[in-house]
Amino acid sequence: MKLDLDRCTGCKLCQLVCSVVSFGENNPKKAGIRVVSRLFTDARYDVVVCDQCGLCIESCPVGAISMEDGVVRIDADTCTNCGICVETCPNGAMFVHPDVDHPIKCIACGECARLCPRGVLDALAGVGKVAS
């Protein structure tokens, strides 16, 4: 999965809409995606988001994570919020929030890609189409 990071402007609309779609809330910390500023060192932005590699599936001690149609999902009812998958993720794309009892990750719904003003996240929308 290749994101067009050169076009990212750091606006964080992806984080905001993710929280709106996932939780019905305005809260970019409750999102399965992060925009990280690298302006001071590299004059650019990074986006951290799941690439659905699936490494977390094996790491989960309670079998709460599975792959469905190319998208890695966490079953919130089974999840014990132990944090092992968060540490396992090679991309750092499993996010924790103090008010949420399971890690938050991208499920490739495509909403952020639809709204991104620069088309940075088009590759995510592609995953979403596979999923649906």
Partner: protein
Amino acid sequence: MHGYAGAILRVNLSTGAVSREPLTEDLASNYIGGRGFGAHFVYREVPAGTDPLGPGNKLVVAAGPFSGVFLPSGAKTSLSAKSPATGLYGDSNIGGHLAAELKYAGYDALVIEGKAGEPSYLFIEDDRVEVRPCAKLWGMGSIKTEKALKDELGDEFQIAAIGPAGENMVVFASVNHDIGRQAGRCGMGAVMGSKNLKAIAVRGTRTVHVADMAGLRKVANEMFAVLAANPALKVWQDQGLAQVTTWSNSIGALPTRNFRQNFYENAEALSGERMRSDIHVRDKACFACPMATGKYCRARHRGETVYVEGPEYETTALIGSNCALGSIEEVAYANYMCDELGLDTISGGSAVAFTMECFERGIITKEDTGGIEARFGSLDAFVEIVKLIAARQGIGEPLSRGVRAAAEAWGGGSEDFAIQVKGLEWSGYESRGAPSMMLAYMTCDIGAHHNRAWAITHDIAVGRNIIKGKAAKVIELQHTRPLFDCLGVCRLQWVELGLPLEYYARLYPAVTGRQDSWDDLLDKSERIWNLVRAFGVRERADFGRADDQPPRRFYTEPVPDGPLAGSRITREDLDRLLDEYYDLRGWDRNGRPTAKTLERLGLRDVAAELQALGRIS
């Protein structure tokens, strides 16, 4: 409370006391947020005669109900205090990511009082609030300070910091945020410096609840779609506000050589196209904004390479054409110096241009400048002068108090071309050929700033020589545009891309649950405008019409060249503009709100206070 975090955080730096006050329904509904909250707290809590640079002044840092909410660019933070530049109420706002983060941390506004015993920064992470000593940051540039704090605390912390100019209480010191966003006007950086407050660092994990999420999503999605479909969006993404330089020059509004001219023969070298082709590195956006007007640029000067966000139009006008610099890269380097020192590029550019004119006229000499050849066009001179200003050394001492004070110090008739109103330097539109814009600058509540009413196209549309009828448009704009600063949202999507105001009117009930119409909100904006005016009336027995005057240059010197060569505005024209304006506002001819007007706006207690002082009838 829907649309709000629901709390005001009050921090007394003298005692270290921190308290959370619930946001009252009365404050939220009557003053909305942002600048409205600023005006409320500063009027109510900063009594007449307070030293703006003393512990009695209060700095209000406020988001609005739209800040941090799912809609285009709910990104605006207002900083308000009694201004050390004007001695009146002052405010300035910043884009970036601060407003949203403040809401997520659980606060609609910070009210910062007193003075810390040692250099400190304010740390806020949700409920955790600490005043932390930071001696090692004192003296550091504002951008370097931001980097140091982000390195220590993490990238999710949003930082607002001052540079050496703020520490030294230069009256046009800025507050910098997100590398290149500034609350530049009115000396809010000096107020922070006077409180030994180097920076504010905020991170929050909370939710901003709204009244009708489904309704909000519907309106916001429409707004995002309309913006995305606008073919001009691409131009904004490419050039941002830098595109205005060429237009401003073409209509005779580009400040040139300390506002003597309004046409710069070398403007092409400062254009948005040149910014894009010569120095641009990356587009940079405020929170949830598709326009991304921030232009991260690279500039080289004398072997040094620096990165800076900008230069946008105001900086290009005041530093570029107004100091007659030769290229956009030179402007970018000067921009970097101002940002790092923590100086407003508008007032800073104006102060340098004023110095250059005084030097070329012989009012000051090389002896005064310490050897600096302060001639128009010299970037080296620019850099040396702003360093002296930030350090308040030599000619930098009087300049650090603004061009009005510098003119008093240097004399020689220089007050005629100290380009300011109320002590605040004039921003980027020379207005001899635009009477409504001239009136907008004269009557802007914080001094000579363009953001309250931007009316040049109105002048062009109805006739640039016409005086009568201009005041109504200025008043309409003075209520509409600052409303965005109350709501905590950027207005560029409306004013620049033409997103209809109806969308914002629909957002308000969805976010707050209140059923105010747009006209209701405009009434509240008028109330805030009058409260700010009342602050001046309470402050000084002689406050009034004399404070609404432009510098003599504008009504005694015709425009020397360019598209408006020979045009002028007369003293009589200015008086007619003011009379019409005061009458329409319900103010007396000395520019003071009448008791009747204040009462109409729900400010009965303010009317009573000013009447008891014998200030209004």
